[in-house]
């Protein structure tokens, strides 16, 4: 049998791998997620709408999305600089620094949360000096942003790093010989070349931040309407045996996240569509 849309390929195993992919994704991702929707289906539409539009819930959406966005954006800037430094220069301790980048991956999130709270609270090493400046780091949206930046950093660094390594340094030399300044070469040649990787890194850091719980709850302070993130709200509902309420909020968050990631992926595809073809 020949399927119309399937290109004949010399690499065997398309059917097998596609079948496995679908099965695996169904078991690991789709099944638990659909359980979520089934569970929330116990509610009527009115009840569902009531729960997800409560001021406390809406405030948590806003906070979670906002801090995640800011955290991921900060990671794009500083993660890019870290990746640039690690790729472009050779200096003693480079490998050590390189290994440090992965630390937020490896640490249990609660550990990072406690560590960050210790440093940024009123009496902490950094918080102590920020307090007189009128900056309240811990127990504020700023604290949440700090935690989300911390856990998202490796995503940006690890996606941008290979892209920078693959960069054709002759293209930069060509730009220089054509009269471009270092700054022009950076913005017009380097940045567009690694943009797809940067967008991917942003999407990963952002997605991770949306779902983050452990590192945030300690530093957030968890004041309703002010510093309460959506994942915490879900856990709170679960602890009160309000399963339907928890799943309703979770389902909303899930759909929102999916839509946002889809938009980012589409943008990424659009950025790289033309010149990533072929060589």
């Amino acid at each position: 049998m020949r399927w119309g849309w399937k290109q004949p390929s010399v690499i065997p195993g398309f059917g097998l791998t596609l079948g496995y992919t679908l099965l695996y994704l169904s078991l690991v991702v789709l099944l638990p997620l659909s359980a979520l929707f089934v569970r929330s289906a116990a509610l009527s539409w009115e009840e569902f709408w009531d729960i997800i539009t409560q001021p406390r819930v809406v405030a948590s959406y806003r906070l979670t999305l906002g801090t995640s966005l800011v955290g991921a954006s900060m990671n794009v800037v500083f993660g890019f600089i870290v990746a640039w430094c690690l790729v472009r220069y050779r200096f003693p301790g480079r490998r050590l620094l390189d290994a440090l980048v992965d630390l937020p991956f490896a640490l249990p999130t609660a550990v990072s949360g406690i560590a960050l709270t210790t440093i940024y609270s009123q009496h902490g090493w950094l918080g102590r000096h920020l307090e007189p400046l009128g900056i309240k780091a811990a127990f504020s949206p700023l604290g949440i942003t700090i935690a989300l930046t911390f856990i998202g950093l490796p995503f940006v660094v690890r996606t941008v790093q290979p892209a920078l390594e693959e960069l054709d340094d002759e293209a930069e030399q060509a730009a220089a010989s054509l009269g471009a300044t270092r700054w022009q070469a950076f913005w017009r040649v380097i940045v567009p070349s690694v943009l797809p990787a940067v967008v991917t890194g942003f999407a990963l850091a952002f997605a991770r931040a949306l779902g983050e719980y452990g590192s945030v709850v300690f530093i957030a302070g968890n004041m309703p309407l002010k510093t309460e993130i959506t994942s915490l709200l879900i856990v709170t509902k679960l602890e009160q045996y309000d399963y339907a309420g928890a799943t309703a909020i979770a389902a909303t968050m899930l759909v929102a996240s999916f839509v946002i990631l889809l938009v980012i992926n589409t943008f990424q595809w659009w950025v790289s569509r033309s010149y990533q073809r072929g060589v």
Binding site: D168, Q173, G179, Q184
Partner: protein
């Protein structure tokens, strides 16, 4: 715009890429920088372009039209540089690639949009890719990409054009086509051009003058014909074409090899002793019968008739192989067969003085 390089030395760690090299390229000349890989030719080109800085020993200088540009950065030298692997901007269309050099100019020097458009369109016509302006480099063939790279370099109206193995990554047919096209282009624009290549055929075919480099030094310079027919050293002899090497001796100003004694002009002052005698394959004559001239019996092993010359491989006494190129008509006339014994006599031999020996 003439280019002059004086006493340039360049080392990378312990590796010496250039050792006190001086060279001059006249205004409007196309010079081929020829040498094996690692001979320093690309480093020399990059130093001219400003992409590499010569070692600071107080003597080195790079002059454009008599003016020292050593302190000037690549972008201020108005040099068109073409890389072996094109180095096109992958995320830009062909049009944007060519316009790049004009668009990055400081505002007060930047031509207006319409002027840029006119210039790019003109260059697209010059490289015969008018219909490809909106394509991306990945959608072009190797030869087309290199033409775009050339147009991009020409867009800034450079004072000199520097080409680093521009056809090295292309297949033979395309390479030859582009090489001829480049020569025609040069005849039209008369822009001072330096072409780096390791392909001696390419260098000899397009250049007004070739500079042969080896091991961080210049071995010889001159017109292609002069260098080919009067190689200054064993290296140049060997690098510029096929050559047969016979072990021999010098006795009383004459070369003695494998039982032949041959007069070599200018050898009377040679101190004597063992030497190597060089003969190009087309400078050997093959006959069925021994003649009075110095000659050497040999047995025909293989004949390759494909080409304007019949390439005949023979073995001589002692078992070593030699190569003879016979014009095809001459080959048909004597109708050689593999296995035959023939007599080979050199029309011209070369012996290099002791100063070239390593």
């Amino acid at each position: 715009m003439s280019i002059e390089v004086r006493h340039v030395t360049k080392t990378f760690g312990t590796f010496t890429a250039l050792q006190d090299v001086s060279m001059k390229v006249d205004d409007g000349e196309l010079v081929g920088l020829l040498g094996p890989s690692g001979s320093g030719k690309t480093t020399l080109l990059r130093i001219i372009a400003g992409l590499e800085v010569p070692d600071d020993d107080g003597r080195s200088a790079v002059l454009f039209h008599g003016e020292d540009v050593a302190r000037r950065q690549a972008g201020q030298r108005q040099v068109g540089f073409v890389f072996q692997h094109y180095a096109l901007f992958k995320h830009m269309t062909v049009y944007e690639n060519i316009a790049f050099g004009l668009r990055v100019r400081p505002r007060h020097q930047r031509p207006p949009r319409s002027e840029i458009h006119r210039r790019v369109t003109e260059l697209l016509r010059l490289i015969q890719l008018e219909a490809f302006g909106q394509r991306y480099p990945a959608q072009l063939s190797g030869g087309q990409r290199q033409r775009v790279a050339l147009a991009r370099a020409l867009a800034i109206e450079p004072r000199v054009l520097l080409l680093d193995e521009p056809f090295g990554a292309l297949d033979a047919k395309v390479r030859q086509g582009l090489r001829n096209w480049l020569r025609r282009l040069h005849d039209k624009l008369h822009m001072t051009t330096v072409l780096v290549t390791h392909d001696q055929e390419e260098a000899l075919a397009v250049s007004d003058r070739v500079v042969v480099m080896n091991q961080a030094r210049i071995e010889q310079e001159g017109t292609p014909a002069y260098v080919f027919h009067n190689p200054a050293s064993e290296f140049v002899m060997d690098f510029l074409g096929d050559v047969n090497v016979f072990p021999g001796r010098i006795e009383h100003g004459r070369a003695v090899l494998s039982g032949m004694t041959i007069d070599v002009p200018g050898l009377t002052r040679h101190p004597g002793g063992s030497t190597k005698v060089y003969v190009r394959p087309h400078e050997l004559e093959v006959r069925r019968e021994p003649v009075t001239e110095p000659n050497l019996p040999a047995r025909v092993v293989r004949i390759n008739q494909a080409g304007s010359f019949a390439k005949i491989t023979l073995t001589i006494e002692g078992g070593s192989e030699i190569q003879v190129d016979l014009p095809f008509e001459r080959y048909q006339e004597i109708n050689l067969q593999p296995g035959e014994t023939v007599y080979v006599s050199p029309r011209k031999v070369r012996v290099f003085g002791a100063e070239y020996m390593i």
